[in-house]
């Protein structure tokens, strides 16, 4: 009797520890992979340049087309399908819940200025609340600061990024239920800044 109780409790304890280890592995993998996915997709998106304006010497991104290209690459590399600004995972995707995507275009006039982006995740969508463009110009390119307010009102700041040209900024918010209710949920934003390719 005694040995059974002991071994069952040891078993449960080992399982719990194991689950926590695996859960931490999965969380790290998810974050890194989501960053990779939006970086690759955004890279592909920024090839979308207005060819008519380019012949006149003006570099301008075509936004809807760029985000279509973004969606194509998200499907190819991560098996996500687009539905508005939500990206729905398939069974082979790295996340199990939809990923929310918002984009902000920094044009030729603005990329040398500092930009502050504030976003809010309200449970159904990731919205850009405020985009603050500074007045001062830096010759080497402005700094981009992104902050996301979560559903619970927590403010998450992302390390500032440097712009090296007119860019497309993509913010993805991953909001996943935990593996088992005992463990914490995986919610985090990731950001990609890619300059236009011309």
């Amino acid at each position: 009797m005694g040995i059974n109780v002991l071994s069952i409790s040891t078993l449960l304890f080992l399982l719990l520890v194991g689950l926590m280890v695996v859960d931490a592995d999965v969380a790290m993998l998810k974050k890194a992979e989501m960053k990779t996915l939006i970086e690759l997709a955004n890279h592909h998106a920024t090839f979308s340049i207005d060819q008519a304006l380019k012949t006149e010497g003006i570099i301008e991104m075509v936004q809807p087309e760029a985000m279509d290209r973004f969606a194509v690459r998200m499907a190819e590399n991560g098996s996500y399908s687009r539905q508005g600004d939500r990206y729905l995972p398939s069974s082979t995707s790295v996340t199990t819940d939809p990923v929310f995507i918002a984009n902000y275009y920094v044009s030729f006039q603005d990329w040398r200025k500092d930009i502050r982006l504030s976003l809010r995740f309200n449970g159904n969508a990731l919205l850009i609340e405020e985009a603050d463009t500074g007045a001062e110009e830096r010759p080497t390119g402005g700094e981009l600061q992104v902050a996301v307010t979560t559903e619970k009102g927590q403010l998450l700041r992302i390390a500032p990024k440097k712009m090296i040209g007119p860019s497309n900024v993509v913010v993805a918010y991953v909001h996943e239920r935990p593996l088992v209710p005992l463990l914490p949920a995986h919610s985090f934003p990731v950001v990609s800044v890619e300059e236009l390719k011309w």
Partner: protein
């Protein structure tokens, strides 16, 4: 006798749990290393392009060799199979601006036990990238 048998079985079940956890941990770690290195490799091809197919493959092999040497990965270079092919090409030979390619890295599935023969044989990652190098820069 029954008590002894029960104890032996208890111990065996107890040993299975850490083994399973370790297996899951190793697979996840290998997978994330593979994801990481395939990302770096995709970026490399994206930023370098190449004069022909053979050059791209050689440079890529060289790059992965370097990456593995510099960072403390568990991956073994000899295990990694590299496949890379273009899916969209403006020029039949040069790998340059806005060409698209598909890169696939695979390793044998890291199995700690031979108990489950019908597990997948390979762990692989596939990535599609777009090249950002002008042909006059090659």
């Amino acid at each position: 006798m029954g008590q002894l048998l029960a104890t032996i079985m208890n111990v065996m079940v107890l040993l299975m749990v850490p083994l399973g956890v370790l297996q899951a941990h190793v697979v996840l770690q290998m997978k994330s290393e593979l994801l990481e290195i395939s990302m770096a490799a995709t970026k490399y091809v994206t930023n370098h392009g190449g004069k022909n197919d053979a050059e791209v493959v050689n440079q890529l092999r060289q790059f992965i060799h370097q990456e593995l040497a510099e960072k403390s990965y568990r991956l073994d270079e000899n295990d990694i199979r590299i496949e890379v092919a273009r899916t969209k090409a403006a020029d039949p030979i040069l790998w340059s601006h806005e060409d698209e390619f598909r890169l696939r890295l695979s390793i044998p599935y890291p199995q700690l036990t031979a108990l489950f023969p019908d597990w997948p044989q390979l762990l692989d990652v596939e990535r599609t990238g777009t090249i950002n190098v002008m042909d006059y820069d090659l």
